[in-house]
C-alpha cells in the first residue's frame, strides 16, 4: 500500500537530477500494448547472429584470425611445396587452393568454441536463458555469425589464390558453389566446438583440445598431397577423414566437374555432425 502512495510525490521529488529516470515515463512504458507473439526459431537465431555481427563491429580485431591466418597458410604452403610437388607454384595452386580453402576455414571454426566458452559465463546468458525462445537459438546464432567470418576468410583466400595464379575451370559459379558447400559443412562441424566450449572449463583448454583435433584432421587429408601417394594404412584414414571428403567435393566444384556422390557424402557427414553434437551441446547448455 505505502509503495503506491509514495509514487506521485517521488515523481516530483526528483526534479533537477539530470538524465534521471522519470517514474511517470516508466509507468507509460509499462502500459504499452501486450507483448507480441514470441519469435520463430529462425528469427531468434538470426537475432543472435546479428549479435555476433555487432560484436565483430565493436571488436574488429577478431577478424585477424580470419584474414591473416589464411593468407599466411596459403603463401607458406604454396611456396614451400609448390616447386617440389608439382614442378611450379602455379601448377600446385590449381590442386592446392581448394584444399587450403577448406583446411584454413576448418581451423578457424575452433574460435567458435573459444567465444562460447568466454561468453557463456557472462551474466547476460542468465537473461537469455530466461527468455521464452527456442532453446538452441543462442548457439545457432553464434554459428550464423561465424558463417560471416568464414565467408570473409573464403573471399580472402580465393582472392589471394587468383593473384598468385589460381585459374579454376569451374569459374565464378564453380568457386561460389564450392564455398557454399564449405560453409554448410563448417556450420555443421562447429557444433563440435560449441560442445567443447560448454564442456571445458577454460579458454586455454578449448584451444588445446581444438588443436589436437584439428591438426591431424587438416594435415592427414587430401589438402596438400594426393592420398594415393601415401602408405595404405594412412590412405585408408585420409579417405574417410571428413576434411578429405569436403576438400574433394570443393575441388570438383572449383574444377567445374561437380560430383553428385561427393555432394551427397558431404551432406550426410554434415547432417551427422549436427545430429550427434547438436543434442550434446544443448544438453550441456541447459545444464550450465
Amino acid at each position: 500500500m505505502s509503495t503506491t502512495e509514495t509514487t506521485p510525490e517521488k515523481a516530483t521529488a526528483t526534479p533537477a537530477a539530470e538524465s534521471a529516470p522519470a517514474p511517470s515515463s516508466i509507468a507509460r512504458i509499462l502500459l504499452a500494448d501486450p507483448p507480441p507473439a514470441r519469435p520463430t526459431a529462425w528469427s531468434a537465431s538470426v537475432t543472435f547472429g546479428w549479435r555476433a555481427v555487432l560484436k565483430i563491429k565493436h571488436v574488429p580485431e577478431q577478424l585477424f584470425d580470419v584474414t591473416l591466418f589464411p593468407i599466411m597458410m596459403t603463401l607458406m604452403f604454396t611456396y614451400l611445396f609448390g616447386g617440389a610437388l608439382a614442378g611450379s607454384t602455379s601448377a600446385y595452386l590449381q590442386f592446392f587452393l581448394p584444399g587450403i580453402l577448406v583446411s584454413s576455414i576448418a581451423m578457424i571454426t575452433m574460435y567458435t568454441g573459444v567465444s562460447v566458452n568466454t561468453d557463456i559465463e557472462k551474466g547476460v546468458f542468465d537473461r537469455f536463458r530466461t527468455l521464452p525462445i527456442w532453446r538452441p537459438a543462442p548457439m545457432v546464432g553464434y554459428l550464423l555469425g561465424d558463417l560471416l567470418r568464414y565467408l570473409i576468410a573464403a573471399v580472402v583466400i580465393v582472392s589471394m589464390g587468383l593473384v598468385l595464379g589460381f585459374r579454376p575451370e569451374g569459374g565464378l559459379v564453380g568457386v561460389a558453389a564450392g564455398v557454399a558447400v564449405l560453409l554448410v559443412f563448417c556450420f555443421a562441424f562447429s557444433w563440435v566446438w560449441t560442445m567443447f566450449g560448454l564442456l571445458l572449463r577454460s579458454e586455454k583448454s578449448v584451444m588445446g583440445v581444438s588443436m589436437m583435433v584439428l591438426m591431424p584432421l587438416t594435415f592427414l587429408s587430401s589438402t596438400y598431397v594426393d592420398p594415393a601417394t601415401m602408405p595404405s594404412w594412412l590412405e585408408a584414414f585420409v579417405n574417410v577423414n571428413p576434411i578429405t571428403l569436403v576438400v574433394d567435393c570443393v575441388r570438383s566444384l572449383c574444377a567445374g566437374t561437380p560430383d553428385t556422390g561427393e555432394l551427397l557424402t558431404v551432406a550426410a557427414v554434415s547432417t551427422g555432425f549436427v545430429a550427434v553434437f547438436g543434442p550434446i551441446t544443448m544438453r550441456l547448455y541447459n545444464r550450465k
Binding site: 500500500m1 505505502s2 509503495t3 503506491t4 509514495t6 509514487t7 517521488k10 515523481a11 526528483t14 537530477a17 538524465s19 534521471a20 529516470p21 522519470a22 517514474p23 511517470s24 515515463s25 516508466i26 509507468a27 507509460r28 512504458i29 509499462l30 502500459l31 504499452a32 501486450p34 507483448p35 507480441p36 507473439a37 514470441r38 519469435p39 528469427s43 531468434a44 537475432t47 546479428w50 549479435r51 555487432l54 560484436k55 565493436h58 571488436v59 557472462k122 551474466g123 547476460v124 542468465d126 537473461r127 537469455f128 536463458r129 530466461t130 527468455l131 521464452p132 525462445i133 537459438a137
Partner: protein, 336 residues
Amino acid sequence: MTSSPPAIEAHGLVKTFGANRAVDGVDLVVDPGTVYGLLGPNGAGKTTTVKLLATLLKPDGGEARVFGHDVASEADRVRSLISLTGQYASVDEDLTGTENLVLLSRLIGYSKPQARSRAADLLDAFGLTEAAGRQAKGYSGGMRRRLDIAASLLSTPRLLFLDEPTTGLDPRSRNQVWDIVRAVVAQGTTVLLTTQYLDEADQLASRIAVIDRGRVIAEGTKGDLKASVGLGSVHVRLRDPDRRDEAATLLTTILGSDAQRESDPVALTVRIEPGDEPGAAGTATALAADRSATALRALADAGIVVDTFSLGQPSLDEVFLALTDRPATTDEERAA
C-alpha cells in the same frame, strides 16, 4: 489458469551443490502486485532461490509455481511471465545501450521497427538517451543497472526478479532504482527483490523473508519484522556525566528499552522499540526519526545538555542477532 494463483508459491525448495545445501527447504508465498523482499547476507541462498524460481536451475527437491505454473515442468510458460535482472550485469557489455535493448526486443518478438522504437522509449524513460550509442562497458554502475532493469521491462513482465539491484551503487543511483521499482509495482507487476540491506527491504517490500543458510528464518510484514528487531538505536553523548542516569531513565521511558551505559562516562545507547504504532503506517526510518526527535526534545526540556546525538539504523547484523543470536557473517559457507 485457476482463479488468481499467487505470483510465487514455493514449498520445501531444495538445491544442493555437492555437499552444500545452498537452498534447504524454502517456502514462499508472494501475492500478485506486491514487492517481496528476500533479505540475507552473502551466501545465504538468495541468488540460488531466485535462479530456481526463474527456471535457471532445476530444484533437487520441493516445488515452485509462478502464477500457477510449475517452474520445472512448465519452464517455458514461466519464462513468458518473468524477467530477471541478475546480480551481475545481465546486459551485453560489448554492445551499446540501444543494441542491447533492440536485441532483446527482437527476441521478445517485436518487429525491427517496433524493436527500435521500444528501445528508444525505454532508454528515454530510464534517462539513458544520451548514452544510447555507447558500449555498456563504459557505463557507470548506476547507468548499467538502469539499462539492466530497462531490459527486464521490455516485455512488461508479470513478475520481475531483481537480484541485489543496488549493491555497489552510490546513494543517488540507489534512490533512482528504488523509484523505478515503485513505479513498476504501481503498474501491477510483482517484484521479488533480494537485498543485503534492511532499509532497502523496508523501503520497498510489503513482505520480507529473512533467509540464512538456505532457510527462511523469519517471514512476515515489515511491521512483524520491525517488532522483532527494533527500529535502530539512539546514541547520545552528554556534557555532564553526573546526569547520565537521569538521561537513561528518560530515554528508556520514551524509546522503550533499557539504556546501555558505555565505558565512556557520558555516552548512552538506547534501542528504539516499535511501540504501539501500527507497523505499516510509515517506514521504519520515519518512525525512528520521529521517536528520537521526541527523545531529544525531552532531554532538552529536562535541561540535560547533549553534545552528540545520533540515530543508527538497525543493521542486518542486528536483525540476525535478534533472529539467530549469531552475527550475519557467513563468508566461510558462501553458496554459488
